[in-house]
């Protein structure tokens, strides 16, 4: 199971750039289709909000790959 957790970490890391690519691609297509202020604001908000979250997913993936989730802490002393 721990091996699976670590390998899955690669998936989470790779999901990051894939998600960012899809987000920016869709944003630019939609803004090109409808270059009005409302559309630009909406998509800029999405990109600005989701990119840090996606980076968090990649950090999660990195921790998984390093084995940090092989065993979860059972008290705050272990943190």
């Amino acid at each position: 199971m721990n091996t699976l957790k670590r390998f899955a970490g690669i998936v989470w890391i790779l999901m990051g750039p894939a998600a960012i690519f899809y987000l920016i691609k869709t944003a630019s297509e939609e803004i090109t289709k409808k270059p009005v202020l409302d559309t630009k604001i909406q998509w800029i908000v999405f990109v600005v909000i989701f990119i840090p979250v996606v980076i968090g997913l990649m950090i999660f993936g990195w921790y998984a790959l390093k084995g940090e989730y092989d065993r979860l802490p059972e008290s705050s002393k272990e943190l």
Binding site: D38, Q42, V45, L79
Partner: protein
């Protein structure tokens, strides 16, 4: 702790949290009316999207509220921090009710609305973590899921209260219903916002009488509170990895399921199925009333079987059944394949003269009856000009459908099923989050993943789902892929990485 004492703790926490949810949700429930008041009268869809964006702004700022007030709660205590959140929320909600319309003060109107909406989001970001932590730190270890599940009912009950007060107000402003609705759309929508100040005052009074959390008090007495909860929560790898796990393995999926089963379901019924305003809301109200007790059932059950699998099974059921359930909602209302009873159809025309111009506002109401028990009502409003040959270029057309009892009940059942999933993912999650983090940084650490999961992922669900239908126009259900994919990723991460072990000891 004595049973009567824990009940007082739950009451004090829950009432305030419920009021905060009510304050937050009346804005969303009145999105269409607010759009007409505060945004320029151009394309109605753009206006609605703009308002949803403002609604979404309230959600996006929640994580920042979680950081600000979470930190405060871990530094000075739970009690005073979530008094402050209540005051900020109540004040900004009341102020929304007072803002003049765009027609009166121009661009200042939407700017002020946006600022107040952001304050609402900040306050809510600080409220939930405090309330859940406060109750959990009073509850006995083997019943933590049960006692915290009462806090979990408040978001849904706050939504129920917002819908109920809006409907009652809408009906009460005049003896004639259509005049009452017209008054509501004109100025009566302010009443639910203004009422909030009374509700908040009651909550503040109740909370002033509360004592601080015993665990926090003990920590403070021993001088063991955190000096920098933000740094300890997020710069320390040991804790950061648990914050990330809580978000990607639990709250992300919980957030999208929560908002799909309630908000997006109601938006879909009203805007895609075109069901009448009141029926779309009473369908949700009835489903909520029947499903709400299940928050406590699943919270209690999680004390026996663990939190993890109840939450993940809720996500799994949502992933596999959302498309068929929403498809069924659409099929019930879709008149294209239903048998029209042409002989029953009615057309009524009303002309209202416009001053001495010779022109009149013409309102044509067409009612079409279908054998399957649906009435389709189209109201076309344009101007009848005295000048020959002059016509209204873009008449205003509103379409709505009224369901018969059988179809109405069927929609309630479908939404009820979706809210069962909500209770499964949400009932145990307060206890789950509390048990992940040590006392001295608990308020900060649990608030952030909760509000990113619910505020960002969940709160944007109706907006993103609606947006997807405008991009991929061939499929009315394409918006569901957002919650399905997010919940799917969360399910996988949660199943793989989260343990089902219940941490009895949170006194650390």
């Amino acid at each position: 702790m004595k049973p009567t004492s824990i009940r007082s703790v739950i009451l004090a926490s829950s009432v305030g949290t419920l009021i905060e949810w009510y304050d937050f949700y009346i804005f969303g429930s009145l999105a269409t009316v607010i759009a007409s008041q505060f945004f320029p009268k151009t394309n109605p869809t753009a206006a609605l999207l703009s308002t949803l964006a403002t609604f979404a702004a309230g959600f996006i700022v929640r994580p920042f509220g979680a950081l600000v007030f979470g930190r405060l709660g871990d530094l000075i205590g739970r009690k005073y921090t979530f008094m402050l959140t209540l005051i900020i929320m109540g004040g900004s909600t009341f102020a929304i009710g007072l803002i003049p319309s765009y027609e009166s003060i121009g661009v200042f109107a939407p700017i002020l609305i946006l600022v107040l909406r952001l304050l609402q989001g900040l306050a809510l970001g600080g409220e939930y973590g405090g309330a859940a932590t406060y109750v959990a730190e009073h509850a006995p270890a083997d019943r933590r899921g049960y006692f915290t599940s009462w806090i979990q009912t408040t978001a849904t009950l706050g939504l129920l209260l917002s819908l109920g007060i809006i409907l009652i107000t809408r009906h009460s402003l005049d003896k004639d219903l259509s005049t009452s609705i017209s008054k509501f759309n004109d100025w009566g929508w302010r009443i639910p916002f203004l009422i909030s100040i009374i509700l908040v005052a009651v909550s503040i009074y109740i909370r002033l009488r509360m004592k601080e959390s015993p665990l926090f008090s003990k920590l403070k007495t021993e001088g063991k509170t955190s000096v920098n909860p933000l740094k300890e929560s997020f710069a320390h790898k040991g804790n950061l990895k648990m914050v990330l796990l809580a978000l990607f393995g639990a709250t992300m999926g919980q957030g999208v399921v929560w908002y799909t089963g309630q908000f997006y379901a109601q938006s879909f019924i009203e805007n895609v199925c075109k069901i009448d305003f009141e029926q779309s809301r009473t369908i949700l109200i009835w489903a909520i009333v029947f499903a709400t007790p299940l928050f406590v059932v699943f919270g209690k059950w999680s004390d026996k079987v663990g939190r993890k699998w109840i939450m993940l099974v809720g996500m799994l059921l949502a992933i596999f059944t959302y498309r068929p359930l929403f498809h069924q909602l659409f099929s019930i209302s879709d008149t294209t394949n239903k048998k029209e009873q042409v002989t029953r159809n009615e057309i009524n025309t009303k002309l209202i003269p416009i001053g001495n111009t010779g022109n009149s506002v013409r309102k044509v109401t067409s009612t079409r009856y279908f054998k399957e028990g649906i009435r389709l009502i189209e109201i076309k409003t344009d101007t009848l000009y005295a000048e020959a040959g002059k016509v209204t270029l873009k008449p205003d057309i509103k379409t709505s459908k009224l369901l018969n009892d059988e179809n109405y009940r069927m929609m309630i059942i479908i939404v009820f099923i979706m809210i069962i999933y909500v209770t499964m993912v949400y009932g145990p999650i307060a206890a789950f989050l509390v048990e992940l983090f040590p006392t001295k940084i608990r308020y900060t650490s649990m608030s952030l993943p909760y509000h990113i999961g619910n505020g960002v992922f969940g709160g944007l669900t109706p907006f993103i789902a609606t947006l997807l239908t405008t991009i991929y126009t061939g499929d009315k259900l394409v918006g569901l892929y957002y919650p399905i994919i997010i919940a799917g990723v969360c399910l996988f991460i949660g199943a793989l990485y989260i343990t089902n072990k219940v941490n009895r000891n949170i006194n650390d």
